[in-house]
């Protein structure tokens, strides 16, 4: 059972994808809080309690599932900011994207992402992959980044 104080932050400009991910994570029994954001800027605002997230609940543990191609600030830029900041460096970031371009993958790992997952087009595969991710989260101790 995952830590109850673990927050899952889903960042994707496509609400449909976020919804699909959320549904599948829930299907495998993950009960944690899930925040759905739609751009890199929103993610940074959330993490650093800025703008609309000024009065958010304090975070203890979090996992970020980050899409790459988003309008405004892309996932890669957000990743770079998070991983170069000592405060946020330890937050696990899983890239979850439709792109499997090797150049992109390499770039993300270079910037310090913790995993790179491609969204499969096939529904069954997609469901399986996300549910596996859910099980992984549940069965692993996520360190507190604070």
């Amino acid at each position: 059972m995952a830590d109850s104080n673990l927050t899952l932050v889903l960042v994707d400009d496509e609400p449909a994808h976020s919804t699909l991910v959320k549904r599948n994570l829930k299907k495998c029994g993950l009960k944690n809080e899930m925040i759905i954001l739609s751009s890199g800027q929103q993610l940074l605002d959330y993490v650093f309690s800025k703008a609309q997230f000024e009065n958010r609940e304090p975070l203890q543990k979090a996992i970020i599932l980050l899409d790459i191609n988003m309008p405004g600030m892309s996932g890669i830029e957000a990743l770079k900011t998070l991983k170069t900041n000592d405060l946020t460096r330890k937050i696990p970031v899983f890239m979850l994207t439709t792109t499997d371009d090797p150049v992109e993958v390499e770039e993300c790992f270079r910037l310090g992402c913790n995993a790179y997952l491609t969204k499969p087009i096939e529904h069954a595969e997609f469901a399986t992959k996300i549910q596996e991710l859910g099980h992984f989260i549940m069965s692993n101790q996520i360190p507190s980044f604070l």
Partner: protein
């Protein structure tokens, strides 16, 4: 024109001949007059000598005779009686002696005569006439006659020479001398005509010879000298013609830079008549800013005595327009080698310069256009590169949603249909027919077709993605053994090869420098196709060979498969294009991919095929083996 020329030539020739004749004639006259004078003087002296020696001789004889005979010495000759001359014994004796002596010698010349005469009865009595063929005595002429003037002078006691008439009225050259003792006169004479005759003869001969020489000279002149002269005239004309007709302006200046010659091209180039500017400074023609350059060139030409060419300068025409002139300068030296002026050629290059400027503009424009076009192409290229992202993300993303939610729908529908079935079973109610149809047939069918379509779309997107990545992947060049690649590829096709009992023949293949992965993909695709499209009607045969040249390596893969129709051949490399029977699985992508890879390797792929006979694919890649060798050696 030709006729006029002939007349003019003849006139010139006549003038020349006339002049030569005049000169010859004048020379002859001078020479002959000198000779004539000399000859006459000589003749006179001869005659004087004869007359005087005869006179002195006669006197001597007479004196001798006188001593032995009586002679009237006292009476002067003129006053002696008319018979005194010969009647006197001594005189008669003396004279008979003289006559006798004269009889014994020939005389002189043809007309030369010695005459001895005295006066008798107021008549000149010729006692002796002695010529070369004549000897006679006693002839008298009246004293007051105009004839026999020399004798008259001798008898008048005069001595000298003269030209006058003799007793016969013939003009003679005569020497006269008195003989004192006997009161006689002696005359030695010769016909003037005889003296003159050799001169006339010689003159005539000389004249004839001169005329002949002049004539021959004239002929020579016409045949030899004249053609040379004509040639010179002709050359001069040609040169003049050339100067007049070439487009270049020919000029000449003195050491001070004053124009001393200008060819007529100045009219066309500068608008001034050649004569108009003579003695004006050459530098007046040059644009002030360019004068220094030209002066420097003149100086250089003078100092180093060498020609300078291709000097470009701007000149000012009569209408103050600026033109571009290209000048060449040579020095003119006198016989001592001192530079006394310059000459050269000027060529109006204004049009060329204008064209060059235009060309330069075009070039710059073209560069700009090329730059713009390159930027466009680069942008297109970048866009093409982004194509991979667009496909892998932007197209995939909605697809993920569609398939995802279709899947969700399917799951939820299954829940609902199960639930509904149970409900109807429990309640015993029969499900209404339309709902039953929807649940059992239409909804699953709809979901099935959505899935089929998304699957197909997913395939297409993956194919395009693969293709677009050909351009993105970094190639790594290494030495690759083609034989190994072919064998690996065949090994993966082993099952099919056995199935169709295919005979594979491989010639020795080279070791090449290329991207191994790309080469593997190329060979695998081509061999895969060869096997895939073998004809079921006959045992398969595949033949692989290669050709190596300095620049490239050619690989041939030939099969005896089903082949392709000519119409289809043109489209086999097109994306998603599949030709012939669609009984074999394929995505219509393989050859497009092969072509893209080969192009990136700097090569070309071609196919020749005949329906139901077989196909042959030929591809080339750059031969980079030498380059690699260089690198290794370097």
């Amino acid at each position: 024109m030709q006729k006029n020329k002939g007349i003019k030539e003849n006139k010139n020739f006549l003038w020349l001949a006339g002049l030569m004749s005049m000169v010859a004639l004048a020379t002859l006259v001078v020479v002959y007059s000198v000779l004539w004078q000399t000859a006459v003087t000589q003749k006179k002296s001869d005659l004087v000598h004869i007359a005087q020696s005869q006179a002195r001789l006669i006197e001597a004889i007479a004196r001798f005779d006188m001593r032995h005979n009586r002679i009237d010495w006292e009476t002067p000759i003129g006053e002696r009686g008319p018979t005194s001359l010969l009647s006197e014994r001594a005189g008669a004796d003396t004279f008979s002696q003289i006559a006798d002596a004269h009889r014994h010698y020939q005389g002189f010349g043809i007309t030369g005569e010695i005459l001895i005469a005295g006066i008798e009865n107021s008549q000149i009595l010729f006692l002796l006439r002695h010529g070369s063929e004549l000897f006679e005595e006693s002839k008298s002429i009246p004293m007051d006659s105009h004839l026999a003037e020399p004798m008259r002078r001798a008898l008048s006691n005069l001595s000298g020479t003269m030209v006058g008439l003799d007793y016969d009225g013939v003009q003679v050259l005569a020497a006269y001398e008195p003989v004192d003792v006997l009161n006689l006169g002696i005359v030695a004479k010769v016909d003037y005509a005889e003296v003159r005759q050799p001169f006339i003869k010689a003159g005539v001969i000389t004249l004839v010879i001169t005329v002949i020489i002049i004539f021959i000279g004239g002929i020579f002149f016409r045949h030899f000298a004249n053609p040379i002269a004509q040639q010179i005239i002709e050359n001069e004309k040609k040169l003049r013609n050339l100067v007049d007709n070439i487009s270049e302006w020919i000029w000449e200046v003195d050491i001070e830079g004053r124009l001393v010659f200008s060819s007529p091209q100045s009219i066309e180039i500068f608008g001034f008549n050649p004569i108009e500017r003579l003695n004006n400074s050459f530098f007046d023609l040059i644009k002030p800013e360019n004068i220094k350059v030209i002066e420097k060139s003149f100086k250089e030409c003078q100092d180093y005595k060498r020609s300078i060419s291709e000097i470009e300068c701007m000149c000012v025409t009569n209408t103050q327009q600026l033109i571009h002139l290209e000048l060449s300068i040579s020095h003119i030296a006198d016989s001592d080698g001192n530079v006394i002026g310059f000459r050269g050629v000027g060529h109006d290059i204004s049009e060329r310069i204008i064209r060059e400027i235009e060309l330069q503009d075009y070039r710059e424009n073209l560069e700009l256009m090329v730059k713009e076009r390159t930027e466009e192409l680069e942008q297109i290229n970048t866009e093409m590169r982004n194509f991979a992202y667009i496909i892998s993300h932007d197209l995939r993303s909605p697809l993920v949603s569609i398939t995802g939610f279709t899947g969700e729908l399917k799951e939820d529908f299954d829940l609902i249909s199960d639930c509904a079935a149970k409900q109807f079973e429990l309640s015993g109610d029969s499900c209404p027919e339309p709902i039953k149809e929807a649940i059992q047939e239409r909804i699953p069918e709809s979901i099935y077709y959505i899935n089929t379509a998304t699957e197909k779309m997913s395939q297409l997107i993956n194919s395009i993605l693969t293709l677009s990545r050909v351009g993105r992947r970094q190639f790594y060049f290494e030495t690759v053994d083609l034989t190994e690649i072919v064998n690996d590829s065949l090994a993966s096709l082993a099952f099919q090869l056995e199935q169709f009992s295919v005979t594979v023949k491989i010639d020795s293949l080279p070791i090449v420098v290329t991207d191994k992965l790309a080469m593997e993909q190329i060979i695998a695709n081509l061999l895969g196709n060869a096997v895939k499209y073998l004809s079921p009607e006959r045992a398969g045969e595949i033949y692989i060979r290669s050709e190596i040249s300095e620049e490239k390596i050619l690989v041939y893969i030939k099969d005896n498969g089903r082949g392709m129709a000519e119409n289809d051949l043109a489209h086999i490399f097109d994306l998603f294009k599949r030709v012939g029977n669609q009984d074999v699985v394929g995505d219509g992508m393989g050859l497009t991919y092969v072509q893209a890879l080969i192009r990136r390797l700097g090569g070309k792929v071609e196919c020749s095929s005949e329906l139901n006979v077989g196909s042959e694919f030929k591809f080339s890649i750059l031969n980079q083996r030498n380059k690699l060798g260089d690198r290794e050696n370097g």
